[in-house]
Structures are given as structure tokens and as C-alpha cells.
């Protein structure tokens, strides 16, 4: 394997061995603390334009398998790992991580002191990086000149509606960069799903006469998406049950008057206890966020805080006071990560049923 480098905006260069695609890429460097689930992670569209540093040192151990895709065409900019196992003899698949990354033109670099990198990133704030062949001045110039798009959702979300038919409740999913775990959870509950582009209007949604609407996860900042989507949310939430996750949650908050704060460091992991306020118990879920709803900004006459992260105090869930509309910041589909919040999909189903009376 070729010697390659991970270089960072701050001028540091880390030599390692390249794997996956030989492409030179740039992106925001973030870290993921999950123990398992590298395939789900690398295929999650929230990592669009990002280079992911994995805390778990041994990556690639189970190859690539059929039921762990979170998108068909992953758009992350790279994987940084300590140790890669290029195994394709796994019991669940014949495709290795290395081959998979080649297919999707995503570079990886192994042999990196990822623990050091994470210890550095946890205090460094947002930082850009590149995976390059040569760490010379030119490479750094290129990196510094790179402007990352703020049109991430447009890049990864569907431009056209498509169905995921079944025989149960009619659910419209608004796609901001949807992870498949959400569709799997709806499928398991027999929902007849129509996925709409994020630019859909409230009328577009309501024309389908759905029992409920789900605002999906997605990459980037919700502040870049404009006011139209917030209008859509406000109109739809008054009519039908609404469930929002991740980026969808952030938009739901914005639509109801709350504000967002950019976190000093993005958090991607599943080890934080999250308090479910109504029952005062603790759950765990995969979290992946660069923004959080500002607690102070929540209008208590419109929204109720339903979940809170006990480690950093961030708001993890909201509910509308007047409508069956609720949202969570964490990934309730549990792909990857703990499953105990999947129950929220049942809550969504019951909200739709309850409304029918």
C-alpha cells in the first residue's frame, strides 16, 4: 500500500498507508467514537464532505455487508484509521472495505495515531484536512484554498419523489440526506412510504394525504436551507403527526422559534447518557451533531424539551405543545448504535393511530 498523508489546516501532517481510492480529497475532519458500525458510519450522508477519524482502532474486520448500508452512494471524504483489516472472507459478504471505498472513490488512510488525533480535535474546533500523496507546501496551499460547500443537503438528498410501498400507514419522509435506518424502521412497521425532496411544500406533502410526516437526518447546517422549509414544517405540523430526527429536529426547532448553537466540536458517538425527561430514565443512542438547539431560546409556550444529554447538557428532544409533533437530535433508528430509542418510531405510529380516533 502506498504511503500517503493526512494533512490538517494547522500545518500538521501524519504519514500513513493509503487504502481504498487513491483520490486526493479535502473535508472537515471529525471523529467518531462508536465501537462498531464503520460501514453504517461511512455510508451515512451526514458525513458528506467530512473525513472521519475512527476511535475504534481495528476497522474493516467484517467487510461490507448487505444490511448495513445507510445510503447507496456514500459521499464522505475519507476514513482515518489506526489499523485496517482488508478482509473479504467474512461470513456475511464478499466485499472488503478497501474494495468498497475504491468503488465509491473514497480514500482511506491507516497507521495513524487516531487517539492522538482525537485528543487534539476535541479541543481544536472545526478543522479542514486532506488525504494526499505528498505533504508538501502545494498540498497545504490547496487545502487552505479549499472552500467546502454549504449546499450539502442538495448534494445528497433525492431531487425526485420515490415510493417505498407497503400496506400500512401512509408516511411522507422528507429527505435531507436520509439514512436508510429510518426507512428500515418504517418498513418494519409496514408503513407505505413516499420520500419527497426537501424542497417539497406543505401542499406537496398534504396532497398525498399522509397519516404522518417524518423529517430525516442530513448533513450540514440547517441554517443554510432557507425559510421555505420552515414554513412547510409549520404548516404540516398543524395538520398531521410529525416526527423529526437529526437535521430534521434542528429544522423543527427553528420552525418553532428556537435557535441553534454550533458545537465547539462535533460529537459522533453513543456513550452519552440521554435523559428521557417525561419518565426520568436514561437511554443511549447514536448521536451525530455539529449543532444543538439553544436551550435558552426554546419558547416554552410552543415547545417542551423531552430529552437532554446528561454529559454536555444539550437538548436532545422537543415536542410541540399544541400538536402531535416531536423531534430528537439523536438517531432513533439505531444504525449503528443502541436500539433503545427505536421505540420512538412506535410512538410515531401510535400518534398516527391516536389521531384517527
Amino acid at each position: 500500500m502506498a504511503k500517503r498523508y493526512l494533512i490538517l489546516e494547522d500545518g500538521s501532517a501524519y504519514p500513513g498507508e493509503g487504502f481504498g481510492a487513491g483520490a486526493t480529497t479535502s473535508g472537515e475532519v471529525i471523529f467518531n467514537l462508536n465501537l462498531l458500525g464503520y460501514q453504517e458510519t461511512i455510508t451515512d450522508q451526514i458525513y458528506h464532505n467530512q473525513i472521519i477519524v475512527f476511535a475504534q482502532p481495528a476497522i474493516g474486520n467484517v467487510g461490507i455487508n448487505h444490511d448495513s448500508y445507510e445510503s447507496i452512494l456514500p459521499t464522505a471524504k475519507g476514513m482515518v484509521v489506526r489499523d485496517l483489516t482488508n478482509i473479504s472472507t467474512n461470513r456475511l459478504s464478499k466485499l472488503s472495505l478497501d474494495e468498497f471505498l475504491r468503488q465509491h472513490n473514497i480514500p482511506g488512510i491507516s497507521g495513524i495515531d487516531t487517539r492522538h488525533l482525537i485528543r487534539k480535535l476535541r479541543t481544536a474546533g472545526p478543522i479542514k484536512g486532506s488525504i494526499v500523496d505528498v505533504a508538501d507546501a502545494h498540498a497545504f496551499d490547496q487545502l487552505n484554498a479549499t472552500v467546502l460547500t454549504n449546499r450539502q443537503v442538495d448534494q445528497v438528498a433525492t431531487p425526485k419523489p420515490y415510493p417505498n410501498p407497503d400496506t400500512g400507514k401512509n408516511v411522507v419522509v422528507i429527505d435531507f440526506g436520509l439514512k436508510h435506518g429510518i426507512l428500515r424502521q418504517l418498513s418494519e412497521r409496514r408503513c407505505n412510504v413516499t420520500v419527497l425532496p426537501w424542497t417539497a411544500s406543505a401542499q406537496d406533502v398534504l396532497n398525498l394525504d399522509p397519516d404522518g410526516v417524518l423529517l430525516s437526518t442530513g448533513p450540514g447546517s440547517p441554517l443554510d436551507l432557507g425559510a421555505g422549509v420552515l414554513d412547510m414544517i409549520r404548516e404540516v405540523q398543524a395538520e398531521i403527526p410529525l416526527f423529526a430526527i437529526g437535521l430534521g429536529h434542528e429544522l423543527f426547532a427553528l420552525a418553532n422559534g428556537a435557535e441553534l448553537t454550533a458545537l465547539p466540536v462535533e460529537y459522533h458517538g453513543s456513550s452519552h447518557p440521554i435523559r428521557r425527561i417525561i419518565t426520568n430514565d436514561v437511554i443511549y443512542a447514536t448521536q451525530g451533531q455539529g449543532y444543538a438547539v439553544t436551550a435558552k431560546s426554546i419558547d416554552r409556550d410552543r415547545l417542551i424539551t423531552t430529552y437532554v444529554d446528561l454529559i454536555n447538557g444539550t437538548v436532545q428532544g422537543l415536542r410541540h405543545r399544541d400538536f402531535p409533533a416531536f423531534s430528537v437530535q439523536f438517531f432513533a433508528d439505531g444504525a449503528p448504535g443502541p436500539h433503545e430509542s427505536r421505540d420512538l418510531f412506535d410512538e410515531f405510529m401510535e400518534a398516527m393511530t391516536s389521531r384517527e380516533g
Partner: protein
């Protein structure tokens, strides 16, 4: 064999949803009081109140309505006879309040009717809403629940058994098929 139709998680979820729906319907928790019908309705009422406390940091008064048992049966609402309901365990005024009446199973509606009379005898509430964990149909009076945990269409030959951890060591709703030797 009893069949579990609502497990512990689903029961928790139903109570959570009912709590949110109460907030939605009443635009908050001001002037709210919760009255549970003994025995299990009281525990459910307390759970709803504790959820409201968690969410809104407001203590909503909880009272108990006692149903005079007329037969030793699994659910008290399964007979056309008019049960007697007394409101002895309520140490607050209901006058001008929004009352949430809570019971485990809604069946003929006769218990609810009696409960409403008992409440009215205490004072004139602003409104009475009914929350039930299970609505099993077969109403004999024009009564409907405002908040329903789960609709369980059932045959009259079946019994619905609600268990709550407070006294039954677990949370569950079960349907018991009435067989010859089970029917009493």
C-alpha cells in the same frame, strides 16, 4: 392462555402519549386535576401526574374515586348494573378545575357515568376529560374517551386484564379467552 396485547414498554409509551395529548388539549396544565378510578386507574393517574411533574415541573393534584365492588371480577366495568362510586379520597376542590378522569379499561361506560356523578356532587368542574389505558368497545352509554392508550376490539366473552407494577409486579394488558372453566 392469556395473550399480552400491551407490554410494559407499550404501556409506558401509551401513558407518555396520553400525557402529551393532555397538554395539547388543555393548552398546558393550569387548573388541571387528575382523578383515578380505583384501583388501577389511580396508579395510572399518578403516573400521568408524575410525567407532568417531570415535564412541566408542576404538581398536579391527584385524587381517587372508589368504586364499590359488586362482584369479584377481573374488570369492574363488565356488568349492566350501576356501580356506586364515592369520592372520599379527594382532598381538594374540583370546582372550576379541568378534571382528567382516569381508568384502566373503558367498557360499558357505566362506571364512568357514575364517576362523573360523584365528581359533580363535589363541585362544578370546568370540564371533565376521560383518559383510559384500554378502550375495549361494547358501550352501553353515550360515553367516549378523550385519550385512549390502546383500542382493543374484544369479544364480550373475553376478559381484559390490566396489570400495573405497583400492585401486580409488572405492567401488561392481556386478553383472556373465556373458556368454560374460566368463566365465572
Amino acid at each position: 392462555m392469556p395473550k399480552v396485547v400491551v407490554d410494559a414498554m407499550a404501556m409506558q409509551r401509551a401513558l407518555t402519549r396520553i400525557t402529551y395529548e393532555i397538554i395539547e388539549r388543555n393548552k398546558g396544565v393550569d387548573d388541571l386535576v387528575i382523578l383515578g378510578i380505583k384501583t388501577r386507574g389511580v396508579y395510572l393517574a399518578q403516573r400521568i401526574a408524575s410525567r407532568l411533574q417531570q415535564l412541566e415541573n408542576v404538581t398536579v393534584p391527584v385524587g381517587a374515586l372508589d368504586v364499590t365492588p359488586y362482584r369479584d371480577d377481573i374488570d369492574h366495568d363488565s356488568q349492566a348494573a350501576e356501580p356506586e362510586v364515592s369520592a372520599a379520597d379527594i382532598d381538594f376542590s374540583v370546582a372550576g378545575k379541568k378534571v382528567i378522569l382516569v381508568d384502566d379499561v373503558l367498557y360499558t361506560g357505566r362506571t364512568i357515568r357514575a364517576a362523573m356523578s360523584a365528581i359533580m356532587a363535589l363541585g362544578r368542574p370546568k370540564s371533565i376529560n376521560l383518559a383510559v389505558l384500554v378502550d375495549r368497545g361494547h358501550r352501553e352509554l353515550p360515553i367516549r374517551a378523550d385519550f385512549v392508550g390502546k383500542n382493543i376490539p374484544s369479544s364480550q366473552r373475553e376478559k381484559i386484564k390490566v396489570s400495573v407494577t405497583e400492585i401486580d409486579d409488572r405492567d401488561a394488558v392481556e386478553i383472556i379467552k373465556a373458556s368454560a372453566n374460566q368463566a365465572n
